[in-house]
């Protein structure tokens, strides 16, 4: 089932929870039949059209749709997962449920506020300048109403530099772009090199992304690489513009 068949009017959804609620709660829809990838793409397109696409909201959305994807994948997979996984699944569903319930409360409150605003808009208030003789605030009538100390306190608050948030829980990221630059830098100095010799000391993630970058360089015709045996050393050679060696990388 694609998004068009799903008949989701994306304009009416205020956020991923809203959309998820609609998808999950539709009685006539079996989750198995919903093309969630299309929901994601349509939602991102929608955000883009709105001009409100930012990485933060897109990421939040993906995290949430991932919960639905996990549910769906369990429907599709044969029943051979162990109990441990199942428990995690139930916990994840409960957590998602708790967040959906909290969101539902404020969505309801939002509706009631909108109604209230509609009712209150019938009442209009006067907005007219005061008669000239009442316009000037009289300095004589003024008396101390604030503590001067509060000004110094406010300056103290403003002098405080924000505590740097704890980012130790955030997984380090490796950029493909940066790995490409690293590879090109090596190839600028040397015509060919051994992968382990240069990158052997990097962590697994960096090595993996570097290999990915090598694939990209191979695709672009910038370098070739060869691995004589499975798990053996990889030799990378800079491609010369005149004789690009067309050689597929060995399996490994």
């Amino acid at each position: 089932m694609n998004v068009a068949q799903l008949d989701l009017d994306l304009d009416v959804f205020a956020g991923p929870f809203d959309l998820l609620m609609a998808v999950v709660l539709r009685r006539d829809i079996d989750l198995l039949e919903v093309d969630l990838a299309e929901v994601v793409l349509a939602y991102l397109d929608h955000l883009d059209r709105e001009g409100e696409l930012d990485l933060e909201s897109a990421t939040e959305f993906l995290v949430l749709i991932a919960a639905l994807l996990e549910l769906k994948s369990r429907l599709m997979l044969p029943d051979e997962s162990d109990d441990e996984l199942e428990l995690g699944q139930e916990e994840a569903a409960e957590e998602l449920l708790a967040r959906l319930l909290e969101y539902t409360r404020y969505r309801g409150a939002a509706e009631s506020l909108v109604d209230r605003l509609g009712d209150a808009q019938g009442f209009l208030y006067r907005s007219a300048p005061l008669p000239p003789d009442l316009r000037r605030v009289s300095l004589e009538l003024a008396s101390q109403a604030y503590q001067a100390q509060s000004l110094a306190e406010a300056i103290g608050d403003l002098l405080a530099e924000p505590i740097a948030p704890d980012v130790s829980h955030i997984r380090q990221t490796v950029s493909l772009e940066r790995r490409l630059r690293a590879l090109r830098a090596v190839l600028d100095r040397r015509q060919s090199f051994d992968f382990d010799e240069v990158f052997g000391d990097e962590d697994r993630l960096t090595q993996a992304v570097t290999l990915f970058a090598l694939l990209e360089m191979h695709r672009r015709g910038e370098a070739t690489w060869r691995q004589k045996e499975t798990f053996g050393s990889i030799e990378i050679t800079k491609a010369t513009p005149l004789a690009v060696v067309q050689e597929a990388p060995a399996d490994g």
Binding site: E86, L101, Y106, A120
Partner: protein, 189 residues
């Protein structure tokens, strides 16, 4: 000041005042007791019933407003269209601020499941919410403004309905849980 005169003065003051005025402020200005002012306000309220004005209690104070039956004519005369309705994102953000104030942007984003930067900015520009302080990480916290209470016709924040009434019924909650857990249940079958 005689009772009848006090009611007249209170009417005149509410006509002039650009914002809602508390009974205490009225009493001080009229050099009368707060009890007398409250009586005068009651007299004014019944007097208004025969006319085109309404006495409203807004954010703990009192203000005169035009009657809803004059709304159409008033908007024609003043060429003042209704304020644009809130988008759902704005309404949800406003509801979260109204009930949980003071509340920070990350907290709003957590509840809505989506970053709410532009809704917060727009609500601020429309004067419905304002900064109220900072969390220890330097994020601004927000609360609703006096204008919010005025535009939404609230005598005070305690007039907001209990948010629990918007919670799903146990049946709806059960259905939601069931559908979320459907995968597991199917395997049990």
């Amino acid at each position: 000041m005689a009772d009848a005169e006090l009611a007249k003065v209170v009417e005149a003051l509410l006509f002039l005042a650009p914002e809602a005025v508390t009974a205490a402020e009225l009493a001080e200005a009229c050099e009368a007791s707060e009890d007398d002012v409250r009586e005068a306000l009651e007299a004014l309220r019944s007097r208004c019933e025969g006319g085109g004005l309404v006495l409203r209690e807004i954010g703990g104070g009192f203000a005169l407003a035009s009657s809803p039956l004059a709304e159409g004519a008033a908007r024609r005369l003043l060429a003042k269209p209704r304020t644009p309705p809130l988008t759902q994102a704005q309404a949800e953000t406003l509801a979260i601020v109204a009930y949980l104030q003071p509340v920070s942007r990350p907290e709003i984003a957590r509840i809505r499941g989506v970053s709410s930067e532009s809704a917060v900015t727009t609500l601020g520009e429309r004067g419905l919410i304002e900064e109220s302080g900072r969390t220890r990480f330097g994020a601004s916290t927000y609360r609703t403004t006096a204008l919010f209470e005025k535009l939404f016709g609230l005598a005070g924040l305690d007039q907001l309905p209990d948010p629990a009434q918007f919670d799903p019924t146990p049946e709806q909650e059960g259905e939601l849980r069931e559908r979320l857990l459907k995968a597991g249940e199917q395997r049990v079958e």
